[in-house]
Symmetry: C2
Subunit: 496 residues, 2 copies
């Protein structure tokens, strides 16, 4: 069908623009000099504007709308592409171009502003941009004309089909089933041999271990690379160019280890996607939640398991013989699973982690409901920290300023982190029925686990929705009980 | 004038495209994974095609031609812009778009091919692409319809106003005045204490010294960065984003030191250009020759001077106390100025360096005159090495495959390297009339030298032609006698 070819041609062109903009994003996130940001954001604003023109051109609208009218006649894959394209199109054509360009420029600059603000513990210097970002997003949502709560529109943008109703249910389950359990753990009085955690681990040595981990997880170095950044992230445009970052805190080695394993999870997903999707709208992971299920699976289910350290603790001992001299495998395993109330989400343990997400979810809900101003955010943040974790941040860098997301316009993204952890537990209980995960991890055969995930999840890219994937792989809809079960089993054994 | 505003607007858009393409080039040259190149070159081909459309659009042609007609009424700066634009336009509109896109893709891929070929000493695997690149360039030049030798068209593209006639004269002067002198030096029988040159200097320690050099030369780290690559280069798009690379050979530390100083010369030029040119066609250094005059000035006139090492040898000794224990300042100074016939241009000493360029100039002249095929290049290369330097490369990696330039389509670029060295001597003899360069270098006040160069050369960007700059700064036209004088004075003192 000629119209389908035309669609593919137009998409292919848009993808080239997305690619160079993404590349500029990678550069910004890892190495671009600070002084360059003013001029660069002007130029990237031009390119964003050009992309916007393509995404909203009459030609593209005609093709998408034309195909949408005859969607029943198209094959399954093309149907999915057109539905996705139509949904995006119906939103984006509502945004006036000048506002879109202005917003793109704002986002380009505000991430560097956020970095400075965080470094200087200076919320005041950043709140102006933050307010603009929130207002832009509210305005954009209002333009869409979707008859729903603005936050639902945002949530659906990151996780197809998810809304406050479902998230409320999910977080309520956590509150009911998990919060009392966490309290029990925190009050268990268990004392760990954990001084080694904050010992000094030189940066270069940490890097050596992170490089070792790339091999352990079978990362394809010919199709990607590892670098450093303030906030670890994974970047990709197609299956042969997948990059990720970690960071090295010399007095907290776990940060680089688990950031690396986490990002390697995202990266493995992207590297294992069938290249057939590369030049289509169905490339890349299908949703933030599914993506996070993969990163959390590698980080927690694998990376924080006893079997993993049975296999790799000897290597770590070899690199840090001094620091780990008196630390047994058992101590180390308990150390990487240490539970404590803490301020910073990315350093939080697996068990308290969802509390950090709940706080952000509730705050975003209020922002998008016009229930809170940017002036009130720091206090609101701190109050919720006290409410859920019993601790109050002593500065904004460890509080409201800790995450990059809002500076990048990502509102509605956070809840997918907790959702992803829950998805990963659900996938996990299916996986262990089919392959012996513990034995594979212990024998350093993670490749076999990669293969299972590739076949069941990764290879499909975005050609299946999160809900379809969950049903196809696990045979049921999303069910948080697996997450609760997994956490309770693991931490009961460790602490109670 | 409205037409001028329109011109600026169109240029501004083109610059945004150039920017993202350049950024992709920086990425390719420093870190992009090998596996990514196929897909990335497809996407960059799309963006190059879009830029081509802008550069050849009817609208842009009308504006440039319209302004060119009334050029006498424009201010000096705009005149220079329009002349430059008109010259480029008259060339580019002659190139069919599909050929332009095909060529861009070829260039995107061939640089990685060249890297592989060089690594594997495998000329055969690369010569196909090389031939295509040569043929594309010949074809493009023929499209221009300029009534001149094809190589002259190429030469003028890198150095405005230069042609074979002038280069022949220049190289003949070198042959007459320099070749016998070089022979005298090579046969002087002077024995140096130079075993330290090939001692082992760990990569990380070399990096530490390279970072020290950034401060010595007052590089603005807020407006640029240093990285590593196989072939050192400088990259920039505007004065607040200037990046350069060096490389670390653990058994040849001079490579990283002088590559860093050389690239810092290019980078200083770019960082000191007035930002008023940023969004115009007059940003960036004015020509390859002038650029190279700056890099060579910092590398040779400063970096290989006795005064420089009087100031900085103590730091180097601090970093490498073992390796340099028995090496006096005098020995070290003689070491960095050691003259010998060698294979690799980028490692060649200051004195034999122009011989390497002469070889490339003569070969390019033959290529562009259809006097040699790609099959004959390796032999031709080796024969000329024997003729001018008396040595024959034992493999292609140290011979015809050593330089990145041809794989990037840069034909006619090489001669500017020798020209730049000659320019730098001419600038130097003017400079020492006005400031005490030796004293400033010795007292580690290179900033004062930067300032002189900024005021006389850098700040103007491309708003003056190379010939204008030379005349304005030195009061005379290009004159190679300064180069000969400089080299003879320096090396007579060192060797005879």
């Amino acid at each position: 069908m000629e119209l389908v070819n035309k669609f593919n041609e137009l998409v292919s062109k848009q993808k080239a623009y997305e690619y160079v903009l993404n590349l500029a994003g990678w550069d910004s996130g890892t190495e671009a000099p600070r002084g360059a940001f003013q001029r660069r954001s002007e130029m990237l604003g031009v390119i964003s504007g050009e992309l916007f023109n393509l995404q909203t051109s009459k030609e593209y609208q005609d093709v998408v709308n034309g195909l949408f009218k005859v969607i029943g006649e198209l094959d399954d894959i093309t149907q999915r592409e057109i539905k996705k394209a139509k949904k995006n199109l119906d939103k984006i054509i509502k945004i006036p171009k000048d506002e879109y360009v202005e917003y793109s420029k704002l986002i380009g600059l505000s991430q560097r502003e956020w970095e400075d603000a965080k470094e200087n513990n200076d919320y005041e210097s950043f709140k102006g941009s933050l307010e603009k970002i929130f207002n832009f997003n509210k305005k954009f949502v209002s333009y869409f004309g979707i008859d729903d709560h603005p936050y639902n529109v945002m949530l659906d943008g990151f996780e197809e089909g998810m809304s406050m109703k479902e998230y409320d249910k999910f977080f309520n389950t956590l509150k009911t089933d998990l919060v009392p359990f966490i309290k029990e753990i925190l009050n268990s009085g268990k004392v760990l041999n954990d001084a080694f955690i904050t010992d000094f681990y030189p940066r270069e040595k940490q890097k050596e271990f992170a490089e070792y981990l790339m091999d352990v997880l079978s990362f394809d170095k010919d199709a990607g690379l590892m670098k450093e950044s303030v906030h670890p992230f994974t970047w990709n445009t197609h299956s042969t160019d997948v990059r990720f970052t970690t960071r090295y805190l010399e007095n907290f080695m776990f940060s680089s280890i688990f950031a690396a394993i986490h990002e390697l999870g995202h990266a493995t997903y992207e590297q294992q996607i069938d290249p057939r999707w590369d030049n289509t709208t169905l490339n890349g992971g299908t949703s933030m939640g599914i993506h996070e299920s993969q990163s959390r699976f590698y980080e927690n289910n694998i990376g924080r398991s006893l079997e993993f350290w049975e296999a790799h603790y000897p290597k770590l001992l070899e690199i840090f013989p001094e620091q780990l001299r008196d630390v047994s495998l058992e101590d180390f395993y308990r150390g990487v699973n240490k539970v404590e109330a803490s301020f910073v989400r990315v350093e939080a343990d697996e068990l308290t982690y969802p509390m950090h997400i709940m706080i952000r979810y509730e705050i975003e809900r209020m922002i998008m409901s016009d229930e809170v101003s940017v002036d009130e955010l720091p206090k609101l943040w701190n109050d919720k920290m006290v409410e859920y974790l019993g601790i109050k941040p002593s500065n904004h860098s460890d509080g409201v300023l800790q995450d990059v997301h809002w500076s990048a316009g990502l509102i509605g993204y956070f809840p997918t982190y907790a959702l992803g952890s829950a998805y990963s537990a659900q996938f996990y209980y299916t996986m262990i029925k089919e392959i012996d995960v513990e034995a594979l991890v212990k024998s350093n055969n993670i490749k076999a686990i990669n293969n299972w995930l590739k076949e069941k999840i990764h290879t499909f890219g975005s050609s299946k929705t999160p809900k379809e994937l969950l049903m196809d792989v696990t045979g049921e809809e999303f069910n948080p009980k697996y997450y609760i079960k997994y956490l309770k089993e693991k931490y009961t054994k460790l602490y109670l």
